[in-house]
């Protein structure tokens, strides 16, 4: 199960990259990157997953004393939370840039924004 999830995560990253490398539309590139972001989150979570264990939340079934043997690794989850938020921040930023770039040139084709080069 972990392997499937992790493989899917990796594949999503690759799909995202492929989309970003082959679509010239700015918005589609951003969409592609958000897919890659999802993929990376999946990979991280998979790494933290221990088969047969539960979420790292203490309650009556998972007591503090037994926690070490019952829960999965909480660290990757904390990391993913951060990663998601950062991801959406970057996405918002890129979207704002896109809007502005469109306003400037009336196109979303990234190949048209090459006035800076060489």
């Amino acid at each position: 199960m972990v392997y499937i999830a992790m493989a899917t995560g990796f594949l999503l990253i690759l799909i995202g990259f492929y989309g970003a490398l082959t679509n010239r539309n700015l918005l589609r590139m951003i969409v592609a990157f958000s897919i890659a972001d999802t993929g990376i989150n999946l990979v991280i979570i998979s790494v933290g997953y221990l088969p047969g264990r539960t979420a790292p939340i203490l309650d009556t079934t998972v007591t503090a004393a037994a926690a070490a043997a019952r829960i999965i690794d909480p660290v990757p989850q904390a990391l993913v939370l951060t990663a998601i938020v950062i991801g959406v921040g970057v996405t918002a930023l890129m979207l704002a840039y896109t809007l502005k770039l469109y306003e400037k040139k009336r196109t979303l084709d990234i190949a048209k924004f090459t006035e800076l080069k060489w």
Binding site: I13, G16, F17, A20, L21, R24, L26, M29, F33, A36, D37, I40, V43, I44, V47, V75, P76, L79, T82, A83, I86, G89, V90, L93, M94, Y97, T98, K100, L101, K104, I110, A111, F113, T114, E115, L116, K117, W118
Partner: protein, 1041 residues
């Protein structure tokens, strides 16, 4: 000290607090921003103080009350303190610089700036790998935001391109982090470093991904198109932060990763770094946009430091000194240059000529490019020295060669740029100087010099900024407001005084050089009295050159010698650049000279075998197989200065185009530095064989060919000063030849040439310069018949050419006589044939010099010319006297040297009985010759005068054309293409093969650079491709290796 956490807290607190302020309270917001930045600087500076002065141990800072690895911890050590200070300072100064922009854009922009600085500090401070990622993202996002401070609309697309790449980078980084966490069970950097047997193998993909992601932020070639676009379009104040502070922070992050990965990964860092360094510098060559050029240079320098990071295994305790020296020099200079670029209206490099109206800013520019090029006395210089010696000590020669090659490229475009500033037409738009924009620039200059002092202090060598001659030279910077004649007097007085105080310290050989420099220099300075006004820039440059020369002959160890060499190179470059049309020539001069200097550096580094420095005398202890290579490197380095054939193409232009009083300095005096170097080299290392080839024999050939081709080129030259310059190539060829003979008389001959060449070449250059000043041209065929108008110049030239040609009774003959005696005791025959051929050729150009200028027909437009100015004539007359004295009594100068040379070559000395000088083969009595010739000459002349006492002066052609002069003198002054038949016969020998070779080489470099920079086609998607391809290629190269 205040905890380093407060750096982060202050920035964040202020940034969040800005939201409370209404939009109208922008001034308050700005004040708050500045206050926060000042506070952050205060903390960093305080820590630097604590670590440097009190020598405190690094401090661990825990957050949330738990020890690592369970909570995030920070560390404050000396490196962190220094780097955060760098970051905060550049942030503060840029904020100051950005005053207008920030006030216009409001509190959000200020918050972004604060957070950017905070994030960079966070990258430096944190010891947690994921926290590093968070700060990375913060820095990246803030970067994307700060790009928008620019007025350049294109910044928008640059920001977008950056974010594309940043996204890809962060994906790889996260994967790397999570798998590293999986492998080690911790996110703490130090914990990972301890636990990571797996990551340290060099095959760990997890670590590779982390590392490559961090490295990608350092803009490695070729995945750096986005960075260039940012540099080009962003606000210069932001670029200053981006280059100086971001670069430093990300480099430190790379260092942290290497701490985890360990030595197995060092070669990867070095490889990426050095490729970036060389490639970015190469691609910078065809740049015309100033900010993009600086961007390339930034990338290159970052690459260099990355390469150094990968060398920490051999740098040992000098690691911080080297990496820090390079990094700080780069950061300060680059920030300074970006700030400067904001003062310039145009974006093309020549637009910087606007700086000319502000000498202070020119000084700033010079400081910055000197720092970037690693010239003394700046930190980069010491760092370069240490790096070179350690690399060479470990046998990493290829890396050293690449570093030096890249550095040469960089110096090339930086100095070319400086040439534009000094020489190109000033644009209409002036430098826009407001105090808040000027202050950061000046702060960078001050910081640069202060760090120069600091690094000198830490270097373990003599601190260059405490060397008296250099200080004396630098003091002229402060005296620039004085009129030229006062400065001239001070310069003369200073040099003579220094000589008087120190002359007892020199051995006879050095005494000759010191007299030429410290007494001969002032004589030439007499000619400088003719210049009026303040002559801004002349004296610091000239005195820097003299300081370098003085330090050179006083140097006992390799470090002092090399530092002096660089100083004199730079000083003379500035001097040469002052000539009217000397821009390209000064450039080729500095490139050749720096190339030579780098060879010397490499040679010394090889010879040192890891030692920080060594006595020059201990060069003699070197053995095979190292010795011949050291010999070759050093000899090549020195011969760039003597303009040996093949390395000579800079000389004619540089000497020819220089100002009237500069030409004799750079010809008569500066060339001797190369000879001095060769003397030191041959004195210590003697003969060396490489693959059975006797290297001194190679030198013999080079010397002979230089003499021949230098002379040949001189005869076809129409320009008087260039003719003299070519003649210098020939003369130096003789001297090199003499030294390479490796016998007593050969050396004596070389020294004879040293003295003679100083006297007559200075004299001839002054004379030609004086004439050129009056006639307004240096083309000899435009002159003619000036003998009656400029009799004193004529006399100087006449005496000069007799002396140069070696005709008795003047001193040139002494050189020839010793030459013949010297070759008789040598067993090498063939190169002498060439020298024999070269000898008579000198007559050709010398005759042409005097004939076409002073004889023949006077041009109409010259009829009212006056003699050259008094101050130009005076030194010439002194030289005439000197020549006569030296002709009659060469023993004055040579006798002690002759004795001194006995310790190196006990046999074959001269015998100085009475007035006769005799060798094993022949004899020579200069006094008798002089008397005989004078008596014969005098009596004949007197007789002729007597019989023709009533003769009256008549016009030319009174007989031939029966008094009717042909209408236009141009048609009958036979001067242009004077030696046409000679060109028909031997012109093939002076085809500009060498020039073609070098210009072909530079064209090739340029073309290659121009072609490969099309890689950066401006498309963000392509840049993403570059990044992915970069990762893949590096991975395969790395695992393939």
């Amino acid at each position: 000290m205040v905890s380093a956490l407060y750096i982060l807290i202050a920035a964040l607190g202020a940034a969040f607090f800005l939201g409370f302020l209404k939009d109208g309270m922008r001034a308050t917001a700005y004040a708050l921003t500045l206050a926060a930045l000042v506070f952050m600087n205060f903390i960093s500076a305080g820590w630097v103080w604590v670590f440097v002065v009190d020598g405190a141990a690094p401090v661990e800072i825990l957050t949330s009350g738990f020890p690592p690895p369970f909570a995030i911890n920070l560390r404050m050590g000396l490196t962190e303190a220094a780097l955060t200070l760098l970051v905060n300072l550049s942030g503060l100064l840029s904020a100051l610089y950005l005053k207008d922009v920030l006030l216009a854009l409001g509190r959000r922009s200020m918050a972004v700036l604060l957070i950017a600085v905070m994030a960079l500090c966070g990258i430096i401070l944190t010891r947690d790998i994921f926290n590093l990622f968070v700060f990375f993202e913060l820095a990246a996002i803030a970067t994307a935001g700060l790009i928008l401070l620019s007025e350049d609309k294109r910044a928008l697309s640059a920001g977008f391109k950056y974010m594309i790449v940043a996204q890809a980078i962060s994906v790889l980084l996260l994967i790397g982090i999570i798998f590293s966490y999986h492998a080690t069970g911790t996110l703490n950097i130090d914990g990972m470093a301890e636990a990571s047997t797996e990551l340290k193998t060099g095959a760990s993909i997890a670590f590779f991904l982390m590392f490559i992601a961090v490295v990608a932020e350092l803009k490695p070639f070729p995945a750096n198109g986005w960075a260039l676009d940012i540099y080009e379009s962003a606000h210069p104040a932001f670029s200053a932060i981006f280059s100086a502070a971001s670069g430093a922070a990300f480099l430190f992050a790379a260092d942290k990763l290497l701490h985890i990965g360990g030595a197995a990964w060092f070669p990867l860092a070095t490889g990426i770094g050095i490729v970036t360094f060389v490639a970015a510098n190469l691609l910078a060559l065809p740049q015309t946009n100033d900010r993009r050029l600086l961007g390339y240079s930034s990338i290159a320098q970052t690459g260099l430091v990355l390469a150094v990071l990968g060398q920490q295994d051999i740098l040992g305790d000098r690691y911080l000194f080297v990496a820090g020296g390079l990094l700080f020099a780069h950061s300060i200079a680059k920030a300074g240059l970006y700030w400067l670029s904001g003062l310039i209206a145009g974006r093309e490099l020549p637009d910087w000529a606007a700086l000319r109206s502000r000498p202070l800013l020119i000084f700033a520019f010079v400081t910055f490019i000197a720092m970037l090029s690693g010239l003394p006395p700046f930190p980069g210089f010491y760092a370069k020295w240490e790096l070179a010696r350690l690399l060479a000590g470990e046998g990493r020669i290829a890396l050293l060669a690449l570093i030096l090659f890249g550095a040469l490229l960089e110096a090339g475009y930086l100095f070319r740029w400086f040439g534009y500033i000094i020489k190109r037409e000033q644009p209409a738009q002036r430098v826009a100087c407001t105090p808040h924009k000027l202050a950061p620039v000046i702060a960078a200059v001050v910081a640069g010099w202060a760090l120069g002092y600091l690094w000198g202090d830490l270097s373990g060598h003599a601190n260059l900024l405490l060397a008296v001659p250099l200080l004396f030279a630098l003091s002229f910077l402060l005296l620039e407001w004085l009129p030229a004649w006062i400065k001239n007097t001070l310069a003369i007085a200073g040099m003579v005084a220094f000589f008087v105080l120190t002359y007892a310290e020199y051995d006879p050989l050095r005494l000759i050089f010191s007299v030429i420099i410290l007494i001969g220099g002032p004589i030439i300075f007499l000619a400088s009295y003719h210049e009026h006004g303040r002559r801004i820039g002349f004296y610091p440059a000239a005195m820097l050159m003299y300081a370098g020369l003085t330090l050179l002959i006083r140097a006992n160890d390799s470090f002092g010698f090399f530092a002096a060499w660089e100083m004199l190179t730079v000083g003379s470059y500035f001097l040469i650049l002052r000539g009217k049309h000397s821009e390209p020539h000064a450039l080729s001069y500095i490139i050749f000279s720096l190339g030579g200097a780098f060879m010397i550096l490499a040679g010394f580094a090889l010879a040192a075998q890891g030692a920080p420095q060594f006595d020059l005398a201990s060069l003699s202890l070197l053995t095979q197989p190292l010795a011949p290579w050291v010999f070759i490197l050093l000899a090549l380095g020195f011969m760039t200065k003597t303009a040996a054939i093949g390395l000579h193409i800079w000389l004619p232009g540089a000497h020819g185009e220089a100002e009237t009083d500069v030409s004799p300095m750079v010809s008569g005096i500066l060339l001797k530095a190369g000879l001095f170097g060769l003397i030191v080299l041959l004195m210590t290392m003697g003969k060396q064989q490489l693959y059975g080839i006797e290297l001194t024999h190679v030198l013999l050939w080079i010397g002979a060919l230089s003499a021949l081709l230098g002379n040949l080129m001189a005869i076809f030259e129409e320009d008087a000063k260039r003719l003299l310059a070519y003649s210098s190539i020939g003369q130096m060829g003789y001297a090199v030849f003499g030294l390479a003979l490796m016998n007593h008389l050969g050396w004596l001959m070389a020294l004879m040439f040293v003295i003679n060449h100083y006297i007559y070449k200075s004299m001839l250059f002054l004379s030609a310069g004086g004439v050129a000043k009056r006639t307004g041209t240096r083309d000899m065929y435009r002159m003619g018949g000036l003998i009656t108008l400029m009799p004193l110049s004529f006399i100087a030239t006449l005496i000069g050419i007799i002396a140069v040609s070696g005709v008795p009774p003047l001193s040139g003959f002494g050189g020839r006589w010793i030459f013949y005696n010297a070759i008789l005791s040598s067993d090498v025959r063939l190169p002498m044939v060439i020298l024999f051929f070269a000898g008579p050729i000198a007559f050709l150009y010398l005759f042409r010099l005097i004939h076409t200028i002073f004889l023949g027909q006077l041009k109409d437009e010259h009829r009212k010319l006056k003699e050259a100015p008094f101050w130009i004539i005076l030194p010439q007359m002194i030289f005439v006297v000197l020549l006569l004295v030296f002709a009659v009594a060469p023993g004055l100068a040579l006798r002690r040297v002759d004795t001194y040379l006995n310790q190196f070559f006990p046999e074959g000395g001269l015998n100085w009985a009475g007035t006769t000088i005799s060798s094993n083969y022949g004899y020579w009595n200069p006094v008798a010759i002089m008397i005989t010739v004078c008596v014969i000459f005098g009596s004949l002349f007197a007789w002729l005068l007597f019989v023709n006492r009533k003769a009256q002066k008549v016009k030319q052609f009174n007989i031939v054309f029966a008094g009717e002069r042909p209408y236009r003198p141009e048609t009958t002054h036979f001067a242009w293409n004077f030696f046409a038949p000679y060109r028909k016969a031997l012109g093939f020998m002076v085809q500009p093969f060498v020039t073609r070779f070098w210009s072909g080489l530079t064209d090739l470099l340029h073309a290659a650079a121009d072609l490969s920079r099309r890689l950066y086609n401006g498309n963000g998607q392509t840049y993403a491709f570059h990044f992915i391809a970069f990762v893949v290629v590096v991975y395969f190269l790395w695992t393939g290796v």
